[in-house]
Symmetry: C2
Subunit: 76 residues, 2 copies
């Protein structure tokens, strides 16, 4: 099985990478672009039947910094 962990900065946390991407898109003439936020996806191969609780534990311990980041787990 595969788990996809999406890690995004929380709303209100300054995101300089997203800002830079937004400015670059404007510079290229994409005027329809508003706010841009950048985040990470981590794709993990797991033994079949792994409990979602285990994936949550990975997020809490390593993958996300829960002070400034939100995460979302998608299992496929």
């Amino acid at each position: 099985m595969k788990a996809y962990v999406h890690v995004m900065l929380k709303d209100g946390v300054l995101d300089p990478q997203g800002k830079a991407i937004g400015q670059a898109l404007h510079g290229l003439g994409f005027d329809e672009v508003g706010d841009v936020r950048a985040g990470k996806v981590i794709e993990i191969d797991l033994k079949d039947g792994t409990d979602k609780k285990r994936i949550e534990a990975m997020c809490e311990k390593l993958l996300a910094n829960s002070v400034i980041e939100n995460y979302r787990i998608e299992v496929a």
Copy 2:
């Protein structure tokens, strides 16, 4: 409207960040973890009705390096 652009390294392209995450998870006792790949998500606020072709153009020009990266666009 919002677009989510997922950018991942192509299969076969070495992913040291993913490898490091995988090793760290093993070190923490998550033995069910196999291969790990790391990628980016870019969340873009767009004017309603923006054509998907425009988002593809953003990916080709700036967001992804199509030599080594694949991208996937999700519109919400």
